[in-house]
């Protein structure tokens, strides 16, 4: 089997380490190149035909006008220029999406952290609460849940009625441009269960002695939170932040359903992906939609990179423990 492998160059610094790793008893992988590629075949085929290939094609299409039926027509940076200078609905979709990400992600993470801390007191019932709080995370992406949400926030719906009872008269949330996006944000926050469960797992790693010692030294609850919980939990916060932000940028179903399929009142729910869908699959401007997809990719990459870069400043790894 190893004959297929080109021998490692003797001077390469990685070579000795590699040989050593393979010879370590109990820790070595099987040297089985042809079989390995047999196992990898479906994935490799998918990676080439459904990921890398389409990425190259969509990059090309983003510089063209393409309606699916005639040959793509090269327009250079025309799509991108139009996006930022001649397309108000595009800019609206950017604004709506940015507001959604900037409001719903921090809100969701705050709620999930607070509830995780509430549950992390090591007394009865935690299993039940944990499960109950997690349930919406599984249902949240569905059309059914979004339909319910729309009804709850409609004029005459329970939210309206309860707020009116409390003396705050609101219009139908889903039909008013000032409130519509807020109802979608709340739907996102409702699904705080998934990050909460991850926070809870992180909190369990914090030794109780740490808090006890700090308490004996006279640190109050807030200082213990600030100087023990937050730093120890920072890698988990980092992970949740990255994942939630990536998800939030791509939100679609709630915006589609709550906005009645057309971006809601005065385009208040015109999420980025919703506009992309409309442009690509209703207007058949596939080139423009591809350009939009690439801008989304770049923005997500930049945001992720920023979070990773700044992570050095606020994410702490306890060397021995956290790396395992």
């Amino acid at each position: 089997m190893t004959t297929l492998r080109t021998p490692d160059p003797p001077v390469a610094p990685v070579a000795p380490a590699r040989v050593r790793r393979r010879e370590r008893p109990g820790g070595r992988r099987r040297k089985s190149q042809p079989e390995a590629f047999a196992f990898l075949a479906p994935w490799l085929l998918g990676a080439v035909a459904l990921t890398v290939g389409p990425m190259v094609v969509s990059l090309y299409l983003s510089f063209t006008d393409y309606d699916l039926f005639t040959t793509p027509k090269w327009v250079g940076f025309g799509n991108f220029a139009h996006m930022f200078t001649g397309d108000d609905r595009y800019l609206q979709s950017v604004e709506v999406t940015l507001i959604y990400v900037l409001v719903s992600v921090p809100l969701k993470l705050t709620v999930s952290l607070l509830v995780a801390m509430l549950l992390n007191t090591r007394r009865g019932g935690t299993g039940f609460y944990r499960a109950a709080f997690y349930a919406p995370s599984l249902l949240g992406a569905s059309v059914a849940a979004a339909l319910v949400w729309r009804a709850l926030f409609m004029g005459g719906g329970p939210v309206n009625e309860v707020l009116a009872f409390l003396g705050w008269h609101t219009p139908s949330w889903v039909d008013d441009p000032r409130f519509s996006l807020a109802s979608i944000v709340l739907l996102g926050v409702w699904q705080f269960g998934a990050p909460m469960v991850i926070f809870l797992a992180g909190l369990k790693q914090i030794p109780a002695e740490l808090h006890e010692a700090a308490a004996i030294d006279g640190a109050g609850a807030f200082r213990r939170f600030r100087h023990i919980t937050l730093p120890v939990l920072s890698p988990v916060i980092f992970f949740n932040l990255v994942m939630e932000a990536i998800h939030a940028f791509q939100a679609f179903t709630p915006a589609f359903v709550i906005g009645g399929g057309r971006g809601g009142p005065a385009d208040a729910d015109l999420f980025y992906t919703l506009y992309l869908f409309e442009v690509g699959f209703q207007d058949f401007r596939m080139g423009y939609a591809s350009a939009m997809a690439w801008v989304l990719l770049v923005v997500i990459a930049i945001v992720t990179a920023i979070v990773f870069r700044t992570a050095k400043l606020w994410v702490f790894y306890d060397d021995a423990e956290a790396r395992k």
Partner: protein, 281 residues
Amino acid sequence: MTALPRTARSAGRHVLCLVIVAVVLYPLVWLAFASVKPPDEILSRLALLPTRFVFDGYAKGWEGAADVGFGRFFLNSFLVAGLSVVANVLSCSLAAFAFARLEFRFRGALFAFMLTTLMLPYHVTLIPQYVIFQQAGLVDTFVPLILPKLLATEAFFVFLIVQFMRGIPRELDEAATIDGCSVYRTFWHVVLPLAKPALVTTSIFTFIWTWNDFFTQMVYLNGTEKFTVPLGLRLFVDTSSESNFGAMFAMSALALVPIVLFFLAFQRLLVEGVSTSGLKG
């Protein structure tokens, strides 16, 4: 913090938790009751309980739209979700075994590539994929929904299974090799059975995500005959006059039943799977 006695604090915590439970579960309870209310009561009375139980919504909703019954939508959804589960578990565990257990050229680079595809928004590949399936005459079939899963494009599950397989002692497959097992037999008879928890997690999440998926199904399916449950529900979005509310909520409630059943059956596994792997609902 210290002023209150322990029992009082514990009781306070339970009260707070129960309040959150009530808020979190309210929309679902509301839906369950709305589906059996007389249509004119759904939005006009705040009370959860209906004055009388009416099951018209279920009867009317089940008739579906454009001569296609909701039963058909459910059948389609079960078909798509079921095949997706089989395809995903098979292809992802094959790839995961190679990454976790075998040595091959470019292993590191390919693994790194797989991890970066985790963050790739699928909108980037969507349009060329659509063009491919359209050229192949496969739009309005279930192929575009299932083929990507057969080709392990859901990197998340590959990663999940790799992580799990790494925890299985290597001595086991070495012993199998010494006993004369081929790599394939080692995979099938040694590693795969031991990776069962990861495969079950993959199955459940694939089912639920496919069941909930709306975007891809809307892009690829256009004939009402081929509609899945989310697309059937979508018909109510366009025509949600009050007379349709009963049917809409009845079918919404039914649409959530499989997920709720999965959740009740596997909640421990689901919740623990999330906390150890970072899966998102």
